[in-house]
């Protein structure tokens, strides 16, 4: 079976500066991949380039998602195709309630897929059910998106959007940052509920703590814009013990080698 996501020799520049330098990654339906790495290794860049943020320029290589080349697709088209990015720092949108965001996004995706919009009562029933599982109150649904939300509330709101929109590929960018253990468990449960044979999950994280709750099939270490190492779940545990220092050195040595040769 071909992979849901096929990243081939991906090079990405931001403001003319190379950040990703030849990433190869294949993610199949039903799999959970973890991408770990030190700060500044390009983890968030990978997340943004998958979602289609402006300013992240692919200079070489390709990303295929469900057999489609993402290069020419705008962010909303990728979302309608089943891509979802849970942001590390969810943006505050004063004046747009969480409920309005959910309804507008779901309707827009249904429209792009040629499906009828849910009726308002059906929609409200759907959202209330999923919100309840995540401990999100009706009152919070009526508040402006992320405005005045605590760190945990923001991340739960991201997971709620994910579970309402039912994407095929969930990319979680540092979703564990700033969460206490209870919030972490709620978030992880939300992700695990969604993690089915038809879906794939990419968990981007600095720490292995989240991986105790969302168990990855594959772990990749990103360093200096390249995948320095891939392995099973044990790799995450090993990183917990040894840290990223060794990969920083390796990357530095590789860079030095490249410069010597050129």
């Amino acid at each position: 079976m071909s992979a849901m996501l096929e990243i081939t020799n991906l090079h990405v520049e931001v403001e003319g500066k190379p950040i990703l330098k030849g990433i190869d990654l294949a993610v199949k339906a039903g799999e959970v991949h973890a991408i770990m790495g030190p700060n500044g290794s390009g983890k968030s860049t990978l997340a943004y380039v998958l979602a289609g943020k402006a300013g992240y320029e692919v200079t070489e290589g390709s990303i295929a998602f469900k057999g489609r080349d993402l290069a020419e697709m705008e962010a909303h088209e990728r979302a309608a195709l089943g891509m979802f990015l849970a942001l590390q720092y969810p943006v505050e949108i004063p004046g747009v309630t969480l409920m309005t965001l959910l309804k507008t996004a779901l309707d827009a995706q249904h429209k792009q897929r040629g499906r009828d919009a849910l009726s308002t009562p059906d929609f409200i029933r759907l959202v209330r059910g999923k919100a309840g599982e995540l401990g999100i109150s009706d009152e919070m649904l009526k508040r402006s998106v992320n405005v005045g939300f605590s760190g945990g509330e923001k991340k739960r709101a991201e997971i709620l959007q994910m579970s309402v929109l039912e994407p095929s590929l969930c990319v979680l960018d540092e979703t564990d940052s700033g969460l206490d253990i209870d919030a972490l468990k709620i978030v992880a449960e939300g992700v695990n509920t969604l993690s089915t044979r038809q879906r794939a999950v990419i968990v981007i994280t600095h720490y292995q703590r989240l991986l105790n709750h969302i168990v990855p099939d594959r772990v990749h270490v990103l360093s200096g814009g390249e995948i320095a190492r891939s392995g099973g779940r044990d790799l995450a545990l090993e990183l917990e013990r040894s840290g990223y220092e060794i990969y920083r050195k390796e990357t530095a040595r590789m860079k030095a080698g490249v410069e010597e040769r050129s």
């Binding site: 909303h76 990015l85 505050e92 004046g95 747009v96 507008t104 929109l165």
Partner: protein
């Protein structure tokens, strides 16, 4: 004050027309003195240009380069009335209506003539002898400047208007809708003068709409509207103004408010029509512990120019002012906000805050804001904030990444920016009606959308 040496052709035409304009309100003895004074002042000063400080961003002399002849009363036959009412704004909002077509009262389609607790007169019906409560307001006025050109032009050409008095301790529901419909096709100037007086403890809601047809055979017009509003002790007034004039029209508006002790005004304006709109609000606190929320939104595109100029005079202690104005500007539109708050030495305990925000959707759009605080009392809390900027890229990406296409994401953010100014209104239906107009503008149906 700048006195131009040479008058423009338009200025000369207004002076001539002003001198000839007596027949418009025949036998209107009460206004003669005011009219003479206005004509003298206008003859001496003419139209303000950008060298006059209060008009530096809105060069009225340039905008009024052609004179609009005083409009004649329309025939008011069935065809005229039906054509005028077809696009009546807020048709779905429950209210009692007072309809003016091209500046003239149309009793045949108005249903607010006999409401309990409300005294109403069309100005032209009582021109010889207005009731004393209206006359008192009309004779005194309360403009803060030595002269005001909108008051002058209005006084010279006034043809009709609404005189409304709400009896003391009376609550009026549903709202009274003052609809000024401009449906004529010839170039013309239309001037209306209104008085709204709320007795002690009275409560009312007034909707004021200005609309003009956009048909291709419509020539531009100049509409001037001057309203003097008096709130008695403990009176409460909710006032909503929609300005959806024809896009080639010029809209000049003066609203004077006098607030007695403990009275409360909530005022919201949505401006989206006219090539030039100048909305002036002059508010004075005449008694302690009164309050006013003055809010507004302007939605502008093309070469539209919208100017809001507000002067709030805290002349009594313990009064509270909140001003929130938001402008959305596309293309080469220009928004102007001038807000002056004056606090007299005896107005201790004043609490006044002013905010003006411009959202620029194009590199050619312009927003000018001038907050002015003149504080002569020492125990006050006064503040202001003014911002101008584009849509937030991070917010746009967030919505975009959730599957919402770019134009829709922009509309969502613009509506969120604007609709916030309607929050002070207690009436949910009214907030929704205003939001529907905003939505209509965003989806390009412009003024067509009714709410």
């Amino acid at each position: 004050m700048n006195i131009p040496l040479h008058k423009t052709a338009a200025e000369m035409a207004y002076i001539k027309a002003g001198a000839r304009s007596k027949p418009a309100l025949a036998k209107a003895g009460w206004i003669e003195a005011g009219r003479e004074a206005a004509l003298r002042s206008f003859s001496a000063h003419g139209l303000p240009n950008r060298r006059v400080e209060e008009w530096k961003w809105t060069d009225l002399r340039r905008f009024l380069s052609e004179a609009y002849p005083p409009g004649l009363a329309p025939a008011m036959d069935r065809r005229v009335v039906e054509a005028a009412l077809a696009p009546l704004p807020f048709a779905t909002v429950e209210c009692r209506r007072l309809i003016f077509i091209d500046g003239h009262f149309a009793p045949q389609c108005s249903d607010a003539l006999t409401l309990d607790g409300v005294e109403f007169h069309a100005l032209r019906d009582v021109r010889a002898d207005p009731p004393s409560w209206a006359r008192e307001v009309l004779d005194h006025g309360f403009a803060p400047y030595d002269r005001d050109v909108i008051d002058e032009l209005n006084t010279l050409f006034v043809g009709d208007g609404a005189l409304i008095r709400i009896a003391r301790e009376t609550e009026i529901a549903p709202p009274i809708h003052l609809a000024f419909v401009n449906s004529g096709v010839s170039a013309r100037s239309v001037a209306v003068r209104n008085v709204v007086a709320l007795g002690e403890g009275a409560r009312a809601a007034i909707i004021e709409t200005h609309s003009g047809r956009e048909a291709t055979d419509c020539r531009p017009y100049l509409a001037s509207c001057v309203t003097e509003t008096v709130l008695g002790r403990r009176a409460r007034l909710d006032h909503v103004k929609l300005q959806a004039d024809n896009h080639d029209a010029i809209h000049l508006s003066n609203r004077h408010f006098a607030l007695q002790a403990e009275s409360v005004l909530r005022d919201v304006t949505l401006g989206m029509g006219a090539k030039l709109a100048r909305n002036q609000v002059f508010l004075k606190y005449c008694g302690e512990e009164a309050g006013a929320d003055i809010a507004g939104a302007c939605l502008l595109n093309g070469k539209q120019h919208c100017d809001t100029t507000i002067v709030v005079n805290h002349d009594a202690a313990e009064c509270r002012t909140r001003e929130v104005f938001k402008y959305v500007m596309e293309d080469a539109a220009r928004g102007v906000f001038q807000g002056r708050i004056m606090v007299a030495p005896h107005a201790q305990g004043t609490d006044a805050k002013q905010q003006s925000h411009g959202l620029l959707l194009s590199g050619r759009a312009e927003f000018d804001a001038k907050p002015e605080l003149e504080i002569f009392a020492d125990n006050v809390a006064c503040g202001h904030g003014a911002t101008a900027g584009a849509l937030d890229e991070e917010q746009l990406f967030y919505l975009h990444a959730r599957g919402i296409p770019q134009t829709q994401a922009k509309s969502l953010l613009i509506a969120a920016f604007v609709n916030d100014v309607f929050a002070t209104l207690g009436d949910e239906t009214m907030r929704q009606a205003l939001a529907a107009r905003v939505q209509g503008w965003l989806t390009g149906s412009g003024d067509g959308g009714d709410g």
